[in-house]
């Protein structure tokens, strides 16, 4: 399998999609850092207090990671189908599980490279905004993101290996990534709703707080548990949580990412073994 992996890595370095994704990761985080620095300067000029640290702006764009993984995996693996080169591997007797695993491993390397580029881009913020206040938290979040990317790649690798039409695979993968983000965003938004709402009433004595009323958007019981669980376990939920610096159960997130990666890869190999290649 190492031969196939090395062949894949060699193709990875030449891949235009990979290069563009790395560049976008780097430039996007540089942009975020420069924009934040400009905001800090404005606050300082106006003499306002500001609590901006590198910790709470560093992860601003990580939710986009899912879309990036979707685009990359579907186009990179889709080329193997569209150019027919997967046949070259099968004809010379390479096992299907080897082909699948090597492609998944290459996708994970690519995702790690995106994160490294994003991280390096973020380092621009160190001389401008300062260093991390919580280094352990930063390392933990990076670990969560790394496994989150592996689980994303597990999902999109499965899709791309089984869908032989590159364009269809790319569209479905991106739509799935966006749908996951929207679903997780909805769940986290719902979870952040207060249990009671309190309004302000104008009385003769002046403004007064009204009686707290139950919030109709508040969820509790099993539904709340389920939302919390899905937010912590789905890669989209994890990336939004990291972005908003509210990672609730990091160990659960790490374990669930590993489980998703394992399950999707096992299911993908099982299906790919029976797949008719044209």
């Amino acid at each position: 399998m190492s031969d196939l992996f090395l062949a894949g890595v060699n193709r990875l370095w030449r891949s235009r999609v990979f290069q563009i994704c790395c560049l976008v990761s780097f430039v996007a985080n540089v942009f975020v850092m420069l924009a934040t620095y400009r905001q800090v300067l404005n606050y300082t000029e106006l003499g306002l207090e500001q609590s901006i640290t590198l910790d709470n702006v560093f992860y601003g764009l990580v939710p986009v990671l899912g879309v990036m993984c979707a685009v990359f995996a579907s186009l990179f693996i889709g080329t193997e189908h569209s150019d027919g080169v997967m046949r070259n591997m099968l004809v010379v007797g390479r096992a299907r599980w080897e082909i699948y695993l090597s492609n998944y491993a290459v996708c994970c390397v690519a995702a790690a490279a995106f994160l490294i580029c994003w991280f390096v881009g973020g380092l621009v913020g160190v001389p401008l905004i300062g260093v991390w206040q919580d280094v352990n938290g930063m390392l933990l979040r990076c670990a969560v993101l790394l496994l989150c990317a592996a689980s994303y790649m597990g999902i999109f690798c499965l899709l791309s290996m089984l869908c032989t039409n590159r364009a269809v695979a790319a569209v479905v993968a991106v739509l799935l990534a966006v749908a996951l983000l929207m679903f997780s965003s909805y769940m986290l938004n719902t979870l952040s709703q207060p249990e009671f709402q309190q309004g302000v009433m104008m009385t003769e004595a002046g403004p007064q707080l009204s009686e707290p009323l139950p919030n109709p958007n508040y969820v509790d019981g099993v539904k709340r548990e389920l939302f919390q669980f899905l937010s912590d376990t789905l890669p989209s939920g994890q990336s939004i949580s990291v972005c908003s610096y509210e990672l609730g159960r990091p160990v659960l997130s790490l374990v669930s990412s590993a489980v998703i990666a394992l399950l999707t890869t096992a299911a993908g190999i099982a299906c790919f073994r029976r797949k008719d290649i044209r």
């Binding site: 031969d3 062949a7 060699n10 193709r11 027919g84 997967m86 290649i277």
Partner: protein, 305 residues
């Protein structure tokens, strides 16, 4: 005789459609095996199965004696190369990069042989030109070069001259002949261009409706298609004596029919037969082309080759 590929009662279904219907064939070692059939006959399906791209619904096949379900079938596949339908090449790589990539896939320790392969297929001077800018013939030759990486001794080519211009057809044909003669590579070529196959093949397999209709050697086919006179007489033993006396080449087909493979003076033959006490009933000239032979084998029908 040693066989590189043997299939037995291979069946492949796609939903309710049967692409292969109990196909049995044998490809002898060292042969150029022409796999002939109309579009949709099941040629490409068989190639996909043999290449491990798809699994048969039932039946079996073996490559170099190893069954397709055996654990070490990959060792037999390492001795194979194939171009299935369109050439399998990375369009954003040059010819050399494509070959190097296949060397990596094979896990070969060095790129030794890449230049020789490029030279062999006539792509040595393509430099950094990307494969997407190659002509169809160049892509086809690059596909064959990739199939040759690792030095296979069994090459499968699916419609290798489809869509090529006359020059491209000649180049591919000469390449296949050279590989067979100089490197002793067994070649399985599927095609429906019979005239082209006739210039290459040493063995033929005629497929129709997913079944092998007939397998024969080039000599047998040549004999079947040879120009001859078909004679109908009252006694072929008497005819044989007369033809032997005339030194003619012939083949007795039945009690009253024989083929004679040269032009004879019919009057002299009739006189010779009369002496033997035999009557000449009819004489017909036969000149069966490969196409008409194929149609007679597969039964004609709406589609024609």
């Amino acid at each position: 005789m040693d066989y590189v590929l043997e299939t037995k009662d291979l069946v492949k279904r796609y939903g309710h459609a049967k692409a292969l219907d109990g196909l049995t064939m044998r490809v002898p070692k060292g042969a150029i095996y022409g796999f002939v059939g109309r579009n949709g006959a099941g040629k490409t399906t068989l190639i996909r199965l043999v290449c491990g791209l798809q699994l048969p619904t039932s039946g079996s096949y073996s490559i170099y004696g190893r069954g397709f379900t055996s654990r070490d079938i990959s060792r037999s596949r390492r001795r194979m190369g194939a171009v299935v339908e369109t050439p399998s090449i990375y369009l954003d790589m040059s010819a050399r990069e494509n070959l190097r990539q296949q060397y990596r896939v094979l896990g070969l320790p060095s790129y030794e042989g890449v230049d020789e392969l490029l030279e062999l297929v006539g792509l040595a001077d393509t430099g950094k030109k990307k494969a997407r800018n190659f002509s169809l013939g160049m892509k086809q030759r690059l596909g064959i070069a990739i199939a040759l990486c690792g030095g296979p001794d069994f090459l499968i080519l699916d419609e290798p001259v489809n869509g090529l211009d006359p020059e491209g057809i000649i180049e591919v044909r000469e390449l296949i002949l050279r590989l067979n003669r100089e490197r002793q590579i067994t070649v399985l070529i599927s095609s429906h261009i019979l005239d082209e196959l006739a210039k290459l093949a040493t063995h033929y397999g005629f497929i129709d409706g997913g079944r092998m209709v007939r397998e024969m050697s080039a000599e047998e086919l040549e004999a079947a298609c040879r120009k001859c006179m078909r004679l109908e007489v009252t006694d072929t033993r008497a005819l044989a004596r007369a033809l032997d006396a005339m030194g003619a080449e012939y083949r007795i087909l039945s009690e009253d029919t024989a083929d004679v493979y040269e032009r004879l003076n019919v009057s002299k033959l009739a006189a010779a037969l009369q002496k033997e006490g035999c009557e000449l009933i009819s004489v017909r000239e036969r000149d069966e082309s490969l196409e008409s032979f194929y149609l007679s084998v597969v039964g004609g029908g709406e589609h024609h080759v």
